[in-house]
């Protein structure tokens, strides 16, 4: 069965049933409906038969018909096509129709054709896309993230609006490209961007980079960028997607946190307070772009009470408060350190006074022993030596008495040396030190050598003797020394006492806690030296040989 053009047209029209998304109609010179598809007739809520041979004004009630017919009339008059979007409500559902009205020449007739497209779905999709874009844009703006993609093959770039804003470039300007991006980056930082991009194109791996941009208004912003290359079928990188986030604030916060932490670290490292305060003021001045006088006022005021100058934001105030806190705690710590130092000094003075008093008492007892009992015994010795035996057995008896006296003399001398060598008063430091040294060496079983520079004696003799005795005793007790050297020299106006042994050494941690562990000798030696403005140290020997060396420097 063959069908003519009219039959085909009729069949086509019939196929456009109600609900179809295409509608067709043709109007004659009087704008009456010549033919109309059921789908288009349905749009105006009537059947095709009710519209055929009638104008739209006649067929459609009210304003709808008039508006539609006005379009037809305009096209009929101008013979130029017209496109308009027609909203419609169909069964309570909002629909959109794209109405295309155009002149139709058919033989010698001048007709007007209407093709209507239901664009409800595409409009919805478009709206959804638009809304998504808007939301993305809002999100990007809020997060200060701009996105981009680079079609490598076509060298076409797409930047999101936010990326334009971040770089300060004009969205209405020429389309962006790699060079445009580089122009926004300070010269010295461009090479890094080129390098990561070149590498990404070569190896196809994602990358991250942090770089500064200078916006046209002169502001410097720090961006963190990430690029994700996408390979094509050939395996080559065809596209790179990426984003760049403005981390200026984040970087600033990090920088300020580091600055405050560095100040805190310096405060703990014992930097003098005025130096620390100057550094703090300088850091704040640089960070906030303020002059030092203003910064000084800000730091001096309590953070809550601070009236921030114009242009100083909440984060700036927080930074100032953090720095002020570092200074305040440093000041508090210095105060408490000063108190501890004062207490320690007072304690040291007391220890020194107590030990000096003890020395005086020892000396007094020693002198009393020397001048009294010792001389008595020596005189008695002479008396006994002059006695002649009167009877048998007297001789042995006298021998025993003599021996007892001699032992008593020896013991008293030992005790005197322990207490205080009376030699000091006559024989001076060398005599007294030799006496002590030989006594200690004998008792502990080590060899002892004394070296004294003549100029060094007569200045701090009592203290030198006392310290030397204590340190020699230590060498025997803790170090297990075999040889001890005691050397007294003068160092300018000061006297230097050195006691070196070849024993097992004195671990530093034990030294630090010497007093706590009951090593009164070392601790008290330090206190006594420091109490008169001198110094004291114990450690490995200067000459590198194994053993310990204690050195006291006593001002003359």
């Amino acid at each position: 069965m063959s069908a003519g053009p009219d039959d085909v047209a009729g069949a086509l029209l019939e196929a456009l049933r109600p609900g179809s998304s295409i509608g067709v109609a043709v109007h004659d010179e009087q704008l009456r409906v010549l033919l109309i598809s059921p789908s288009l007739a349905e749009l105006s809520g009537t059947a095709p038969e009710e519209q055929l041979g009638r104008t739209l004004t006649e067929a459609l009630p009210g304003e709808v018909g008039e508006v539609a017919e006005a379009s037809l009339r305009a096209v009929a008059a101008s013979r130029r096509p017209l496109l308009r979007l027609e909203p419609a409500v169909d069964a309570g559902r909002e629909r959109g129709w794209l109405i295309h009205v155009y002149p139709l020449e058919h033989g010698d007739r001048e007709l007007v054709a209407v093709i209507a497209l239901d664009v409800t779905e595409s409009r919805r999709a478009h709206d959804r896309l638009q809304r998504t874009r808007e939301r993305l844009d809002t999100a990007q703006r809020m997060a200060r993230i701009g996105s981009w993609s680079w079609d490598v093959a076509g060298d076409r770039w797409h930047w999101s609006d936010e990326l334009y804003r971040l770089t300060g470039l004009d969205p209405a300007g020429p389309p962006p490209d790699f060079e445009a991006l580089l122009q926004a980056i300070p010269g010295e930082d461009r090479a890094a961007i080129r390098d990561v991009t070149t590498r990404a194109l070569r190896d196809g791996r994602p990358y991250e980079i942090r770089f500064p941009v200078l916006t046209p208004d002169g502001r410097r912003r720090i961006l963190r960028g990430r690029g994700v290359p996408e390979r094509g079928e050939s395996g080559a990188v065809e596209r790179i997607h990426g984003f760049a986030q403005d981390v200026t604030e984040l970087a600033r916060a990090g920088r300020r946190q580091r600055a405050a932490a560095e100040l805190g670290r310096r405060a703990l490292s014992g930097v003098p307070f005025d130096v620390l305060a100057a550094d703090a003021a300088q850091a704040v001045a640089e960070e906030l772009g303020l002059d030092l006088a203003t910064v000084g006022r800000l730091l001096a005021a309590s953070p809550e009470a601070t009236q921030a100058p114009a242009g100083v934001g909440e984060e700036d105030v927080a930074f100032v408060a953090a720095v002020a806190n570092v200074l305040a705690s440093a000041a508090a710590r210095l105060r408490s350190e000063a108190e501890v130092a004062a207490q320690s000094e007072a304690r040291g003075r007391l220890v020194a006074l107590a030990l000096d008093a003890e020395d005086r008492a020892r000396r007094s007892i020693s002198e009393t022993l020397h001048d009294g009992p010792l001389q008595d015994l020596l005189a008695l010795g002479h008396d006994v030596a002059r006695l002649r035996p009167a009877a048998d057995g007297d001789e042995q008896h006298l021998e025993r008495v003599h021996g007892g006296l001699a032992r008593a003399v020896t013991q008293i001398r030992e005790v005197m040396l322990d207490l205080h060598p009376v030699q000091l008063q006559v024989g001076g430091l060398e005599s007294a030190l030799q006496a002590i040294c030989h006594q200690q060496a004998r008792a502990a079983g080590y060899a002892c050598r004394v070296e004294i520079e003549p100029a060094a004696s007569g200045r701090r003799d009592e203290l030198v003797l006392s310290l030397a005795r204590e340190l020699m005793r230590n060498a025997a007790k803790h170090a297990g020394a075999r040889e001890v050297l005691v050397r007294v020299t003068s160092e300018g106006a000061a006297v230097r006492l050195e006691v070196a042994d070849d024993g097992g050494g004195f671990p530093a941690e034990r030294l630090a806690d010497a007093l706590g562990r009951g090593h009164i000798g070392v601790a008290s030696s330090r206190e006594r030296a420091e109490a008169i403005g001198g110094s004291f140290r114990v450690g490995p020997r200067d000459d590198g040989r194994p053993g310990t060396q204690a050195v006291a420097l006593l001002p003359g």
């Binding site: 001389q375 020596l378 002479h382 002059r386 030699q423």
Partner: protein, 146 residues
């Protein structure tokens, strides 16, 4: 004080008596030594002192042949007295023997440097002390430590 003169004293015994000065702040020890010296046939005590100042003055006044000085005395010690005598040359013929309750080598060196001819420990037996004094008085002692 004529009987203190060695020549005069020596006339009676036919031997020369050496004149001894004794200084010690311990009365018991000093008197013991004085008795020892007095009992010695060739020695006599010409003066005693109980401190350094008295010793210096007494030695200058008595011009003994030998002086036994305790090292440790109040005021001025024996070594210092010895030094002063040497420096001032006020008793050029007096030999000085020092004696101490606490002898040690450093003291010996200092005693020698001060011009003493000997340093004795106080526990030295009486006879030895007397012998040392006599030897010193006669110039037979160079230097010794007991």
């Amino acid at each position: 004080m004529g009987n203190d003169h060695p020549v005069l004293n020596g006339q009676g015994t036919g031997a020369l008596t050496r004149r001894v000065f004794i200084a010690d702040d311990h009365e018991g020890y000093r008197s013991g030594v004085a008795r020892l010296v007095a009992e010695h046939p060739s020695l006599e005590v010409v003066g005693q002192a109980s401190d350094g100042e008295q010793a210096l003055a007494g030695i200058v006044a008595c011009q003994p042949d030998v002086a036994l000085l305790d090292v440790r005395m109040p005021g001025m010690n024996g070594i210092e007295v010895c030094r002063r005598l040497q420096a001032e040359g006020t008793a050029p013929n007096a030999r000085i023997v020092l004696i101490t309750g606490t002898p040690d080598p450093v003291l010996s060196t200092q005693a020698a440097e001060a011009g003493a001819v000997a340093l004795l420990g106080k526990e030295t037996p009486p006879n030895t002390i007397a012998a040392q004094l006599l030897a010193a008085a006669e110039g037979r002692v160079g230097w010794s430590v007991e």
